[in-house]
Amino acid sequence: MSTDADDLYQRIVLAHAHQPRNQGPLPGATHQARGDNPFCGDRWVVSLILDDDQIREARYEGTGCAISTAAASMMTGAVRGRTRGEAEELSRAFERLISAAGAQAGADGEGIDLGDLVAFAGVRRYPVRVKCARLPWQTLMAALGGATSTVSTE
């Protein structure tokens, strides 16, 4: 592709959007939450199996744009095997990565290894699309918090 949107639609982001991983129901889920973006109709349900404090399995179902789908796909892969605390730390680092505030502070995860998730750094240049990347993570945090209610970007 030959446009400036390259910085939003990174190759790895597109790869996950085309072929999302970890999608589908999760029988025996111990934690679950739903996240909606009423602005664009994106909807995710994130399901987890926690063993003590460790995330044994993470899956998601729903529909969303390429950015949101890739974020959900890469997020579930990234948190699998991590402890609740590590997942929360990763979520905060991701938020700093994609938010304008993080951009001002020159943040790139601040010591947390974001791995492939750094591909989302370009999202901060698209204020309306930040919510797309954020929604799966918000939903994950709600699930970890045991929240039964739906989270929303609005």
């Binding site: 400036d4 597109l14 969303g64 744009c65 698209y126 309306v128």
Partner: protein
Amino acid sequence: MIAGPGGGEPFSPETARADFPALAQLIHGHPLAYLDNAATTQMPNAVIDAVAGFGRADRANVHRGVHALSERATAVYEGARAAVRRFLNAREAREIVFVRGATEAINLVAHSFGRTRVGAGDQVLVTALEHHSNLVPWQMLCAERGAQLRVVPVTADGELALDAVDAALGPRTRLLAVAHIANAIGTVNPIADLIARAHARGVPVLVDGAQAAAHLPIDVQALGCDFYALSGHKMYGPTGIGVLYGRAELLEAMPPFLGGGEMVRAVSLTEGPSWAALPHKFEAGTPNLEGAVGLGAAVAYLGAADRAAIAAHERALGEYTAARIAAVPGVRLIGRARDHAAIVSFVMDGVHPHDIGTILDRHGVAIRAGHHCAQPLLESLGVAATARASIAFYNTRSDVDALADALGAVHEVFG
């Protein structure tokens, strides 16, 4: 005197677009192709200058000052009302109420007409084509009054199922509220026919004309509608200003919507207030003078235009747009009613409309992506969101070609 598009020359989109300074800019290095006119149209210099001129010379409060500026401001404000009356061919200027937009116009009717005329067990009839602004106020009213909201369904092509209209109009129907043109997919409703059907049952009709006023000549007397709602920013005017047209007889019988200054004749601490005459009864507080002045200029500009030439251009360009979009691999047009405005709603296999919108923006092409505040309609048509290109008379084939080329790029990325 305000001249029409292109300074009164025979209509051509190329000369008309020179009236719109916002169109002459680069977006991400590309010439702007503004195809989001169903959301908001741009303003011609005639409107921009009228608003600025008011601020420079005539600004004061209206209807109460005894000084020169107040008299001038009042004359300009009431002049704008007279211009809107002419534009809609309303019988009297007092039938023109300035509001914030079509949304407020409809809420005014829901509160004022609705609360006095709709009771428990009554029905309000809407259609599945409506913008949320012509749906939510009626849902709120019906919930409050214990009334029932009935909905005329749409066909797969996005047309109203007309045979369902007569069946839905019952002895308890108190109002039919319907869009002239459906914002999300561009269906032009057979509004005169709908009004005739409703009036045959004694049911008054509110027409949401937000999407129509910039594109069709509107004659409220010929239509015979009871209420007609407009938004200035969708007809080359400023935001924050709109119009409720109401038949004087109905407006007279309706209680005020908002209370305050301007809308009262006399106020005392011991007796209830008495209401000002129309239209001031419905214009509490200092009005949006700049907005009214701008809207007055916009209808003068449109009124001076060759509406037939504009309509022919928009129709032809709309068809060209539909053909170019439909030729992109994986694209499906949504809701192509036989009678439709120059609004093209579409989806692309495997690509979310917001991704389409973002990539198009990087090519300088502005469209709308999402549910277009018409979630029930899109649900009826089996989609959650669409991308929508909408034409104004200042659009040209170059704008549409830029759109089609950028859609090709979307297909490359996601196809």
